[in-house]
Each structure stands twice: as C-alpha cells, then as structure tokens.
C-alpha cells in the first residue's frame, strides 16, 4: 500500500484523533454480466481503495461467471483496519453511494432494486449484452440507452454513462479495453475520494495487461473531452448501405418519383427503394415498383383517410424488400461488391497490407438452384398449398425441409476462383425476370398487394394490418417457403374469420395477435399457425 498517499490524505484532516465518531463505510456496488470482467474491475477498485489509504472489504457473487449470468460485487471502504469487522456482506437498499454498471440492463436492474442512495453516483456503460430472450424477437424488444438514461440521471446526484465498448473503438483499442476505460472515468469523475494516482497504481499492482489497461484508463479519465464524439462514431454496416451507388433514373421516372413523394417520409422511402431496386435489378424494375405503390396510394387517397398515408408507406417500404428477394444472383452480388470488402476490413480492423481471406458458407437447395431456370409453376411445393378440406394451408414440414438435398459449399470469395464463380453468377441478372423464382415471388407479391387493396375498401385498420403482413415473408430456402406459407395462412385466417361474420375490429385484433406471434422469434411461424388453427376451431 502507498503509505505516502495515506499520510498525505490523513494530514489534510482535522488531525483530532481524540474525537469519537461512528463512521459508516463508503459503499460501492458493481453490476455486470458474467465474462465482462466484473471481477477484475472490482479487484482494481479494491486495490485503488488500498492505495488511497482505505481498508476495503468486499464480496463477489460471481455465480456462473463467464457464462453470461448476472454478477454482482459489493464493496465497503473503511477508514480504519479494525473497522472492517463492521462489514455488511449484503448491500442495503437506499445505501449504495456509488453504483457501477458494466452493462446497461444490469445497471438498470440494480437501480430498480433500489440499492442506490438518494445522493448516489452512477458510473456505467450503456453497452448492451443482450439476453437470449431479447435476441429472439424479429422486430427486437430490448432496453436501450435512450430509455434508460433519463431514469439514471433522475435517480442519481451524478451520472456518468456512455457506451464503453464504443469508447474503446474510439480509442482505437479492442473491446477488452471497456473496463479500464470505465475505471478511468470513475477515477476522474470524483465519485470516490481517491486520487487518480491510486486508481492507476491499482492497475499496475494487479499486473494484468498493464500497459494496455493503462492506455485505456488514461483515455477513460479524459471522458469529458471525447464524450460528444462518441455519438458520431461511424457504423460500418450503415456505411456499406450508404456507399451503394445512387440510382440514375430516367427523367420521366424521376418525375414520377417526385410526383408520388407526397410527404417527406414517403419521399425518403421511395428514394431508398430506388437505390435498393436499381442496385438489385434496374430502373425498369423500379418503375414497376412505383406503379404498385401508386396504385395503393390512389386507393388509399380515394378513401379520404387522414392518417398520413400509413398504408402506402408500409407497402412502399416492404414492397422494396419483397421485390429485392434474395436469390443466388443477389447473394453473389452482395458478397462480391467492393463495398462489402471495405466494410469487412474496417469491421475486423484489417490493415491495407494485411493478407486476409474470406470464406462464405452457402447451402442452396434444389429449389434455389433451379429457381433461376425459366420453367415451372407459379406456386412451389410447400409454399402454402391448401387441400380442399382445411381452411388453412399447411406449413411445410420442417423434417422434410431439413432432409431436402442441398449443396453445401464453402467458397473462398477472396480467391480468384471463388470470386469469379460468384461474378459469373451475376451475369444471369438480366435473365432474372424470366426465372421461375421471379414468377413465384411475384405471384405472392400480387396476392399481398391485392389483399391490401381489398382491405383498404373495407377498413383502414385492416388495411394497415394487411400492409404490414407483407413483412412476414422473408429469408432464404426453407425459411422463404415457410414464411410464404405463413402469409397465405394469415390471409386464409382473415378470410375464414370474415366468412364467419366476425366484426372487422375483432378480425383486426386477432390478425394483430397472429402477426406479433409470427414475429416473436424463429419459431414464431409455428406458433402463429397453431394460434390460427385454434381460433378457427379446426
């Protein structure tokens, strides 16, 4: 321990050792996710207290650490060695003076438990380590920093919160630096009455990756300087999207686009769609898109609704992704484009001179391979064919799907042969509109568009629901077949309900439930299908 520091600190007191005082310790709670390094962080904190002349005592509940469980460390810092006998092995509600969170949800959990004192301080990372339950829903459902930060600020006297993993990127360090960055922020925040030197020595003393962690620590201690920059940090994936070529539309088409850009939101969607579809196929294909959207717009506008063209916007957004269905040509295009390699290198911090190779994993099945050929019916097997007796089409059997033959390929896309193979595939792009897959996708798109149009005439809520249902269809191979069948189930479900004379509002209500079940996760399709079957009572 640093005697000098302790003496310096002591010397600055009132020096009257005769006064009798009862002093409670400084209390600190560290909440983290197993594997994040909560243990190391607490160890540093423990040692920093020692360096600052305090007598720390603490307890860790590492539980099943390194396995993603919630972990908690509780520390008390006493002014005298014997006083450590006063240690409380449990944190007390409303008594924790400094709350540290290495992860946002765990930080929020500790706040919700009510541990933080009214004049407490929060030092936390807003980084999210998602739980399994949070990852599965297709549309996502998890706590974000936008939701939590106002609460943290309201509950504490001082709150220093930022995404420490992003901060590590800003510092040009690996993600492992997040803890030391947060430790640096804690040191310079003044939340604890320790000199910054004490924190620094703690890192040196424990001896784990000292120079790396000290670099991160110094960066963290200057958090006030760089916090504003953190917001503007580049997202490489978004950059890839943005660097896709801007569409060159013929003047006529450009005029049509502008004519349909009724408000800013729709204009934005149409511009994105133009970019995506021209990249996917060509301007002619986008013209076809625009025709579809216009038809919906006219229908919706004709109804005189004042809801801000919700249906048109949803159709416009979803139709662009439906039209750009992912076939082998599309995958080959996205896998070999220059923008991909640029993103990939930034993402994995690969220098310009570094030798690297990229291997892609493909497992196209017979349908996907032959889908490019110009023959075959408009509806494939397992895409929602219905037998005479039942009202609902069957979902394709997953065991049959998994038993289907597929070509399992590992292609080194960064090699000459791999790259050229995929490039050759792209030569087929002009033939795409003549392929069987095209026919089938468009059959499904037309069914959907038709259903939306009919619904607009019936009820606005219904139309909005049917418009959004277009997003049920997604994915590749067996997922595509399953979700096509699922959408047809959805349509058949609504029809069957209407046939039974159910009120439209009730139909919409059940349809919404179907949709949210379907989007609840990778097994959502099966759940939604069972729901529909149960509701129809057959």
């Amino acid at each position: 321990m640093s005697k000098k520091l302790a003496q310096r600190k002591r010397g600055s007191g009132d020096g009257d050792g005769e006064m009798v005082k009862l002093t409670t310790p400084i209390t600190v709670l560290v909440a983290a996710v197993g594997g994040q390094g909560g243990q190391l962080f607490s160890q540093w904190l423990f040692d920093a207290a020692k360096e600052a002349g305090f007598y720390p005592t603490g307890v860790g509940l590492p539980g099943l650490s390194q396995r993603e469980g919630a972990t908690v460390y509780y520390l008390e810092f006493f002014a005298e060695p014997e006083a450590t006998a006063l240690f409380s092995p449990f944190p007390e509600k409303g008594k924790v003076q400094v709350l540290i969170g290495l992860e946002l949800l765990e930080l929020l959990r500790a706040v919700r438990e009510g541990y933080l004192a009214e004049d407490g301080v929060i030092i936390g990372s807003t980084h999210r380590v998602l739980t399994t339950d949070e990852k599965l829903p297709i549309w996502g459902n998890f706590v974000t920093s936008e939701q939590v930060l106002p609460i943290l600020r309201q509950r504490s006297k001082q709150c220093v919160a930022f995404d420490a993993v992003q901060a590590a990127k800003l510092a040009g360090l690996s993600e492992l630096a997040a803890n030391a960055i947060l430790f640096g922020a804690l040191a310079s925040s003044g939340a604890l009455p320790f000199p910054v030197e004490a924190f620094r020595r703690a890192i040196e003393h424990y001896g784990i990756a000292v120079s790396f962690n000290l670099r991160a620590f110094e960066f963290g201690s200057r958090y006030r300087e760089w916090l504003p920059q953190l917001q503007k940090l580049d997202d490489f994936a978004t950059q890839e999207w943005e660097s896709l070529p801007e569409p060159k539309l013929p003047t006529e088409l450009q005029r049509e686009l502008e004519a349909l850009s009724i408000d800013d939101e729709l204009a934005k969607i149409l511009r994105h769609a133009a970019k995506w579809l021209c990249h996917y196929q060509d301007a002619r294909y986008f013209a076809r898109y625009l025709d579809c959207v216009r038809a919906i717009y006219e229908r919706e506008n004709g109804q005189g609704t004042k809801e801000g063209l919700l249906v048109t916007k949803e159709v416009a957004r979803i139709l662009a992704t439906r039209m750009a269905y992912e076939d082998a040509i599309r995958v080959a295009q996205l896998k070999t484009q220059r923008q991909r390699f640029e993103r990939l290198k930034k993402e994995h911090q690969i220098g310009n001179e570094t030798v690297y190779r990229v291997v892609d994993f493909f497992s196209p099945d017979w349908d996907e391979l032959t889908g490019l050929l110009p023959f075959g019916g408009a509806r494939g097997e397992g895409e929602g064919t219905r037998n005479e007796e039942s009202e609902l089409p069957e979902l394709p059997s997953q065991s049959e799907e998994l038993k289907r033959a597929s070509l399992q390929m590992k292609i080194e896309t960064s090699s000459l042969t791999g790259y050229l193979l995929l490039k050759v595939l792209q030569l087929l792009k002009p033939l795409r509109p003549y392929s069987r897959r095209f026919k089938r996708e468009w059959a499904a798109i037309n069914e959907w568009i038709e259903a939306v149009k009919q619904a607009i005439d019936k009820d606005y809520d219904l139309a909005f629901l049917v418009a959004r249902s277009g997003e049920l269809v997604r994915g590749y191979g067996r997922t595509r077949r399953k979700t096509l069948a699922l959408w047809r189930t959805f349509a058949a479900f609504l029809n069957a309900l209407e046939k039974r004379g159910m009120k439209v509002s009730e139909v919409v209500d059940l349809g919404e439930q179907f949709l949210s079940l379907a989007m609840s996760g990778p097994e959502g399709a099966e759940k939604a299908w069972l729901f529909a079957k149960e509701r129809l009572g057959n």
Binding site: K9, I26, F87, G207, E240, V358, R474, Y476
Partner: protein, 738 residues
C-alpha cells in the same frame, strides 16, 4: 489450472506472525491451515469452496510441497471423506473441502470416520449455500452435525475471525476426537479483506518426513462390539468435551449490558445484525478500545466471558471527503444484549442459560429450516425452567436468505423502534417509467465457442426437427451442460444429483416409450456417473444414447483438473473410451462437436441400435475458455517473434441477413447478437457477430447442417505471411479489388 490466484497472492502464504495479508475467504482459510500444521489436504470442487480447491492446487508447487503437505485432487467427496481415516490412526491434521451437497456424497464414509473418532485434528470445509446462488437444492449442513455428532462451526464475515476459528477448529477436533464441520458461506468464501498472519507450522510428519509406522488400534474398527462403544463415547465423552472446549475458548460471543430483550445470531448473521442495529442506532463504537473483537476473544478465558461489550474502533476523523454521515459522539456499546453463536453444534447449555437469565423475550435470528438452533434453544429454556418467550417466525422469514435489509426490518419490529428515527431499507420512490421497461432475467449461457453447446443444443435440436416422431427425454447431469434446461425445457426431466441422472431414468426406459438421451461431462463421469449411472445402465442393458462431453476440465467450478485432463502428472492415467469398452459397451464413437452434421448423423445411428443397450458418443473438444486463454497467449508469442500466425473470426453480412433469427435458434452463441438493419427499408433486427467470436467454426457448420442463410462468413488474417502468400494476395487485390 493454477490461475485463480496470481503468484503474488499465493506468495503471501509465506508471511509470518503479525504481518498483514489481503486475501479472499478461501485463501485466508488455506493460510490458517498452514498455521495449524496441516499435513494433508483434499476435497472436490464446488461453489462456494471451489476457490479453496483452487488455492490448494495453485499453492501446491510453490508452498505446499516444499512444506511437505500432501494435496489430493479427490475424484469425489466420498473419496475425500474416506481419506480422513488417516487421522484415526495417525496424529496428523487433515482438511478437506466440498460444497453443501457434497456432504450427501461423503456421508457414508464420514459416518464411519465419525464413529471411530480421530486423533489428529480433522476439519471439513463445507460450502454452505443456503441462498442456492450456485447450488441446485437448498440444504443446510447443521443437521449432518447432529447426525454424526460432529461439531459445526460458523464464522463471521470477517477474515480475522475466519482464520481464528479455523485454528481453533483443529484444537477442538483433537480435544473431542471428532471431525469438525466448518461452514464456508458464499459471502465468506467469496469475501475479500485483510487478515493478520501467524507463523506457519510445518506438519509433524510430511512428504519429506513420512511416518515410519502406522498405529493399529483395533477398537477403532466400527464393528460390534465396538460400534455401541463408539456411540457411548461419542455422546457421553466426545460431545461433552467439545462443549467444554467451546466454552473455554469463547467461541460463542456474548455482548450483554443487561436488558429484558435479547438477540441470538449465528455465523455471518452477526455482521448482518450488527449493520442492522447500527442503522437502528443500537450500536455505538467506542474510541480507544482499538482491539478487534476476535483478538479480545482470543485473550478471553472462560471466567471473564460476560459481559463483553463490543469494542470496534472508530475510524479516525481524518478523511476530508468521506462521503458518509458522522453521528453524534457518545460512548458506545450494543443497546440490546446479543449472543453470537459460532459453534452451532453442540450448543453449550450453560452459555444459553446465562444469556436467557433475566430476559423476557429472545429473538433467534436463524437462517432457514430446519431451525435446529431455535428448537434447541427452546429445549434448553424448558430444561432450565426459563419462562420467557423465544421468538423467530413473527419477526423474520423462516425460509429464504436473511439479507441485511430483511434482518434490519425484523430487528426494528422486534425492538418496536419507530422507523422514523432511522432510515432503514427505504426503497426509492419508483416512477412508473422504470417499471414499464422490460428488465428481463438474465440466465447463464454456454461461452463463445463452447464445445458442449453444439452437441446438446444444436445437434439435439436438429435431430428433433429431423425426427419429430422420435420420442425421447434429454437427461441432463450436473455440469455446465445443465444450462441445456434453458433451451430444451420441454424435453428435460428433473436432475437427481451428481452422476446419478442416467440411473434416474432406468425405470422409465422400461416402462415408457420415451428413450433416454443422457448428457454427462467428463468430470461428472469420473466423479460418480461411471459407477452409479453407466454401470447400472450397462448391467440392465438400458436402451439409451449417452453423450459424454469430454472437455478435459471440471469447467463449471473453474477449470480444476480431472482424470480426463491432458496436462499434469496424472494425465493419461484414465481413459473414457477404453473404460467403456472394457466394461462391455458395444457402441462407442468419438466425434468432433464443431462438425454438427456429423454429430447429428451419429446420434441418428445410435438412436436405431436399440438392441445394443447403452450407446456412447464421446463428444471430444477442449473447454474453449481454457483453450483460448492458452492459445491466445501462444499465438501472440509466435506473432511477436515473426512466425506465421492466423487469426480468424466469423461475421454476418448485414445486407445479406434477412433477420430470420434461425441461427440464434440453433446456435445461441453469446457472440451472436442482434442490431437494427442498416437497410432503412427493413424493420427487423439483423444478427451480428461480436468481436468475442473465437472462431470455433460452429456458425459455418450450422449454416450447412440446418440449411441456414448465406450471411455467415469467416475472415482470416495472416500475420507474418510467407512471400508467396503476400504475392498471391497482392495479385488478388489488384485483380479483384478485395
């Protein structure tokens, strides 16, 4: 292995009289063991004492072997308990450690050792986990103490007290000739603080100086006619001796300034009640008596035991920024009489009688059921004709963890203090906003690159999807793989304890149409499953498929070596494949877990062979945590010296991912997360691979085996490439623009 404690912490074990050590509870215990001249150590890892096993192993080469102390890495608790028989014959001290449920495994051997009685001191450190923070069932050790007649000690959350009590435990054991059960609660074993060292004592006989001859004492053999003699001895001689020792050495502490009400606590509930009473203004801390309680007790004799005011020193008023309230200076002591029990069995009647005398009402702050302290205290009260009230359930929950908040509330009610005078456990007012947020529970998960996940999660899910007609239950044993319960919920029957789970499905294999798929790791295989489950299944020709996850480490408790470990002096002494074949297993195959398609194929093959009895599939892949720690270091070293090294990660192309999340369903790797799509037309969350990816290859093989989307890629960087590679790369860059 050799990593829980860094070298500088282990080095502290050499410190001597009066020196200060910073340690956690388990290292502190090891220090006290050395100070007590222990000759042999052992046990079986399990939270919260797995750190003690780690401490034994980490200190073995540097400290223990040079001192001549023998360290056993026993294959299970029964083996550890049986080893204690040495102290029946030899005047040597021994200690073992296991978790609370380990006593169940050890009980048979322990009952015999306890019947014989020991000459050398024996202390068993039991990881007491009443809160079940890392244990599957709630169980207390105290009833075992009654059962065996073995004293049970329970320290405070104060490392100086822990070491003090450890040293006393050996003397107690030798005094009453009984092994002593020493409770190590989670919040004691995992506690970090300081302690004052004493000098280490080398064992009387050691690895360097072994006993030349063992004493033979025929009447120690537990067989009639000696058995009944042992029983008489135990209850009429040994237990009274224990009581005498406990009283003489002031193991139980009494703080009594008079009063009509009293509180009885035990173990670390002393700290909990102390904090509660401080919050309630019932404790004041006196200046000038700067003697920690444990030191006072150590100096105390049986005659001057009471009253013993608590004298915890006040911190010096010298910290300018000390962020805490400083109440009025008064003389100090407990405002209410308190008896702190640290020997829970046997209770000393006289001590209780003295405490109860003159009081009307006594609150027993006891953790959980069965509340043997409360019952014993009632019995003693009746015996001595005390007419006051013993209370517990009215003020405190009788099951569940007694946290500082819970106890403070109970004490407040008991003292009928008004809550207004002190601020107790007052949760902050809650805004509705925080309640609306989905603060979902966080369950543990298999690590990135774990070799167990592909077998039990991915392969079984694919098998299940492929064969919806196949009817089976997945019987999970105890190990990391028990986390399969979170993912295979509908297929898993209840667990029945270490190594016994295949045996638990024997009757159902014959009386139901569901076949058993049994999952067991190598640690549990050797510890118990081999004898209890596997031999039982082979003998009955049980129709089952057994997946043995051989990852070379006892991973769940922190990577202790087991007989499958490939390094160390015992490596290769035992072999799972040869063992099974030697036992007569007809179908034994080995598979690489990361080749999921292959694993599924072999499960399908095994599934069909009903006539073979148990079919064994050894899924062999080293624990990724252990492997990547080692390999990362090796790779870094090679890279620095200019050798060719590759570094690879998996990734997901954000514009290719269609947000279907099937990969998460089949491969719930912590390195796979979700994020909004960069394509503003998409509302779905797309999958992304985090930097924590360790390149196990599973993503690729799942993409093939489960026919997933083509978003996954593997990118490999080559450090220090050969000139040929560099040339090729430059060419490719020029031609392809990659």
């Amino acid at each position: 292995m050799g990593r829980t404690y860094p070298a500088h912490e282990i080095e502290q074990l050499k410190k001597g009289e009066g020196e200060v050590i910073w340690a956690d509870g388990c290292l502190a215990i090891l220090k006290a063991l050395l100070e007590s001249g222990v000759a042999y150590l052992g046990g079986y890892p399990g939270a919260p004492v797995s750190n003690l096993t780690d401490a034994f192993l980490d200190a073995e080469e540097r400290i223990l072997k040079p001192m001549g102390v023998f360290v056993a890495n026993n294959v299970n608790e029964a083996a550890a308990a049986a080893m204690l028989r040495f102290s029946v014959n030899a005047p040597l001290r021994g200690a073992v450690a296991w978790k609370v449920v380990g006593t169940n495994v050890a009980a048979d051997a322990l009952a015999h050792v306890c019947s014989s009685g020991v000459q050398g001191g024996v202390v068993i450190f039991v990881g007491e986990d009443y809160a079940a923070s890392s244990t599957l069932v709630v169980q207390k050790t105290l009833p075992y103490g009654y059962n065996f007649g073995a004293p049970v000690l329970d320290p405070k959350a104060d490392l100086n007290h822990v070491t003090h009590l450890t040293r006393l435990a050996f003397e107690l054991s030798e005094n009453c000739h009984m092994p002593v059960l020493f409770l190590v609660r989670t919040r004691v074993g995992n506690m970090k603080s300081w302690l004052k060292a004493k000098d280490n004592q080398p064992p009387k006989f050691s690895l360097h100086n072994p006993l030349t001859e063992l004493q033979r004492i025929p009447d120690r053999f537990p067989i009639p006619p000696f058995t009944q003699r042992h029983e008489r001895e135990k209850w009429h001689e040994r237990i009274p001796l224990a009581k005498k020792f406990i009283r003489q050495n002031g193991i139980n502490e009494r703080y009594d300034n008079g009063g009509r009400k009293g509180i009885i606590v035990h173990g670390l509930l002393f700290n909990v009640a102390l904090r509660g009473l401080m919050r309630l203004g019932e404790v004041e801390i006196r200046q000038r008596e700067l003697v920690a309680t444990h030191e006072r007790i150590e100096n105390a004799t049986a005659n001057n035991l009471s009253p013993l005011p608590l004298s915890i020193p006040a911190p010096q008023p010298s910290v300018p920024d000390f962020r805490s309230q400083v109440p009025n200076p008064q003389s100090l002591s407990f405002g209410i009489p308190l008896l702190s029990l640290h020997a829970l069995f046997p209770l000393v009647e006289e001590e209780l009688a003295e405490f109860l005398e003159g009081k009307d009402e006594v609150l027993v702050v006891e953790e959980g059921e069965p509340a043997l302290l409360e019952r014993e205290i009632r019995a003693i009260a009746q015996q001595i004709g005390w007419t006051g009230r013993v209370v517990r359930g009215e003020f405190l929950p009788t099951t569940g963890e007694l946290t500082t908040g819970v106890v403070t509330e109970g004490l407040m009610k008991f003292l009928r203090n008004s809550a207004a005078s002190v601020s107790v456990t007052r949760p902050l007012s809650r805004t509705p906003l925080i309640e609306d947020l989905p603060v979902v529970p966080r369950f543990p998960n298999f690590c990135s690159g774990c070799p167990e996940r592909p077998a039990i999660l991915t392969a079984l899910k694919i098998f299940h999807s492929l064969h919806p007609e196949a009817r089976f239950e997945v019987v999970l044993d105890i190990g990391c793989y028990i986390m399969g319960i979170y993912y295979l919920r509908d297929l898993v029957p209840p667990v029945t304890g270490m190594g016994t789970c295949l045996a638990s499905s024997l009757a159902s294999s014959f009386l139901s149409q569901e076949r058993t798929i049994y999952i067991v790791g190598d640690g549990t295989f050797w510890a118990q499953a081999l004898t209890t489950s596997i031999s039982n299944a082979l003998y009955h020709k049980q129709d089952c498929v057994v997946l043995i996850l051989e990852n070379f480490w006892t991973a769940m408790t922190g990577h202790q070596p087991n007989p499958s470990t490939k390094v160390g002096e015992h490596a290769g002494n035992l072999d799972i494949e040869a063992t099974l074949k030697g036992m007569g297993a007809k179908w034994v195959k080995v598979v690489n877990p990361y080749e999921v398609g292959e694993v599924v194929k072999l499960i399908e093959e095994a599934w069909e062979l009903s006539d073979f009895g148990p079919r064994f599939l050894i899924v062999r892949g080293e624990c990724m945590l252990e492997r990547s720690r080692r390999e990362r270091k090796e790779r870094e070293q090679l890279r620095v010296v200019g050798k060719r090294v590759t570094e690879a990660h998996f990734g997901v192309d954000p514009l290719v991912c269609a947000g279907d999340h099937s990969c998460l369903h089949y491969n719930n790797c912590p390195s796979l997360s979700v994020r909004p799509s960069p394509n503003p037309l998409r509302r779905d969350m797309i999958v992304q691979a985090e930097k924590t990816c360790v390149d196990c290859g599973l993503c690729g093989s799942v993409a093939h085996a489960a026919k997933l989307c083509p978003s996954f890629y593997r990118v490999e960087q080559v450090h220090n490439p050969s000139w040929w590679e560099r040339l090729q790369f430059r060419l490719r860059r020029k031609l392809l623009g990659v």
